[in-house]
Symmetry: C2
Subunit: 373 residues, 2 copies
Amino acid sequence: MWTKPHPYFYLYIYLVKDDAMKFEAATIKDIAKALGVSTSTVSRALRDSHEISPETKQLVIECAERLNYKPNPIALSLKEKRSRSIGLVVTEIANNFFSQIINGIESIAYDKGYNVIITQTFESYDREVMDVQFLASRGVDGLIISLSTETHDLSHLKALHDRGLPIVFFDRITDEINTHKVIVDNYKGSFEATEHLLQMGAKRIAVISSSEFLSITKDRVAGYKEALKMHGMEPTDELIHYSYYSGMVFSEVEEIINKLFTLKHKPDAILTTSDKITTGVLKTLKRRGIRIPDDVALAGFSNTDIPELLDPPLTIVQQPSREMGEAAVSLLLQMIESKRPIRDFEKRMLSPELQIRASSVVKKKAGKKPSGK
Amino acid sequence: MWTKPHPYFYLYIYLVKDDAMKFEAATIKDIAKALGVSTSTVSRALRDSHEISPETKQLVIECAERLNYKPNPIALSLKEKRSRSIGLVVTEIANNFFSQIINGIESIAYDKGYNVIITQTFESYDREVMDVQFLASRGVDGLIISLSTETHDLSHLKALHDRGLPIVFFDRITDEINTHKVIVDNYKGSFEATEHLLQMGAKRIAVISSSEFLSITKDRVAGYKEALKMHGMEPTDELIHYSYYSGMVFSEVEEIINKLFTLKHKPDAILTTSDKITTGVLKTLKRRGIRIPDDVALAGFSNTDIPELLDPPLTIVQQPSREMGEAAVSLLLQMIESKRPIRDFEKRMLSPELQIRASSVVKKKAGKKPSGK
DNA sequence: TTGTAAGCGTTATCAT
DNA sequence: ATGATAACGCTTACAA
């Protein structure tokens, strides 16, 4: 159906002569010199210290504006012993779930004057270790991380945590490190999706989930199993499958589908629990000419707009990714900015604003029923 | 088809007591003290200066390792008067074209010790100005930017450029600022896509492009027109449409499709020139029950895997986004790191490596022909 | 109310 | 071959 890829585009690159000299920004010293006062006076005036005469303050502020003075963030960092940057470790930027996480994180981080350094693991443990070390060497003030599927050894993170680096886990979390974590109710999500498939008339629901070593997988599969039991069905191992690389490696998904559809009793519905797995299953079914929902009904976790484009529709479980990012970064900044420990587990919850946003997330459902063979 | 969205997910947030003290990293001073030498000796030893005795060097390096010494990047930045960070302005991270641009940029930037600060405009001029100012205030050493669709006034960038801030434009470029630019051959891309539609038997090809003010739009529409002329057809205005927000605002695309399909002579093929427009058109056609390619053939620019999931297939024009990112950042780092002007336009082209990578990009074509009514 | 000086971590320029 | 010192931009005791 697709012709063989062939080389195509040229890159056009315009080069120009570059003889601009480096612009020197105004410093506090320039202001001091211009006004014939000391740098400390300027510093204090700009920070609106109470021990500066209104006139001087006025003068300084005016002069600062005139010179277009901007405090040098690097000098500040050196003084304050903080980089005002936080590290982020995700699987892949080119994934809606994570790009929305990033949006959530950056919106808040930038507001508070923090940079975000983004790194990607592509589900590789080695990359994760590299990323974490890179971030540590850049002197980030804190770390937000979703573990790679390959990660079983957490020593690279433990070491940093022991040294006092604030860390927040999200989505793929771990029990081995005692710090803040942000996840959604994965159990409930897959429970409801499974239930919906049952309501559509499905009798044999298969599940394709991420690596069974991931925390989220356990919850999602548990929700699936519980829904079956609630409706008087017994989960069968032959219908439960794991994609080690969460669908990043397409052939994994393909093989699972192949296995499922060579069973004596083929499934009449499939639950997929990640963006990439959902996409992969769609692709495979299309290739094999298996129709949705006539041959199999489908319910899947997805944060992309792919399923919306497809006919017939499927059930989508959407995660509040942006809100997760916001929550994670808020917690991290809290850890960073308050030296004091968070004392009260109940009271010191998220700010109300954040909680409201968190509940605004949706689940979309498909209406059609499978022909129920 | 889709039931009304309803609130769904909870955010689970685990809070823990945080009583870890801030870890103090080893400095050059610690090494000096431990070894009873001066800081300058340590500094020189670590930088492998020739004027240090081998024994001292040995000692210092050993000690540094023992203390797990890492040079403080912030102190270095302050000294060198550079932040070792570069700013990036894109439309949106959650867009494959840009996330791959980011991949290209980061892979090279990180290797050379630079951070990348990513900002998003969402096609808004105001956001772009904010982003640029934010990046400037963070003291980035350089800027990589793809202009927003709303941007007609370039003074925010001109000011920085005049001050000597290195800037590289990519994709949506401008003539008004004389600096490096990275684009693909948009003309050729849309020329070939149009030609392919013609070969499929299309007689009336419509084009839906981004804002007509964007540089890329001009090239793409020009390629389309030229292909028509080459095949003895005259471009008609009623078949040429522009989406001001490049498909980011879905209703724009919807309206254009509506207009096209209420024409006396409806189009039998459509060329779309951006990710979002392609997606939007697919969605609209699906909603209106217009079949591809039986009712209309489709060719579109896209860097997502969405079209691959759809049946019937369409022609896809793919941009070498990762390579564009690599090219852009290479040029920028060149500008940043060499005070000397780039003298020779011809010789100082990209490194060979980069050129090779740039040609590895593909175009995929659909095979089916429209029923050609 | 304002100025002086020390310090953040590092390197470059002098001396020694 | 090594050490002392100043400097990068800024804040903050401490003095005045």
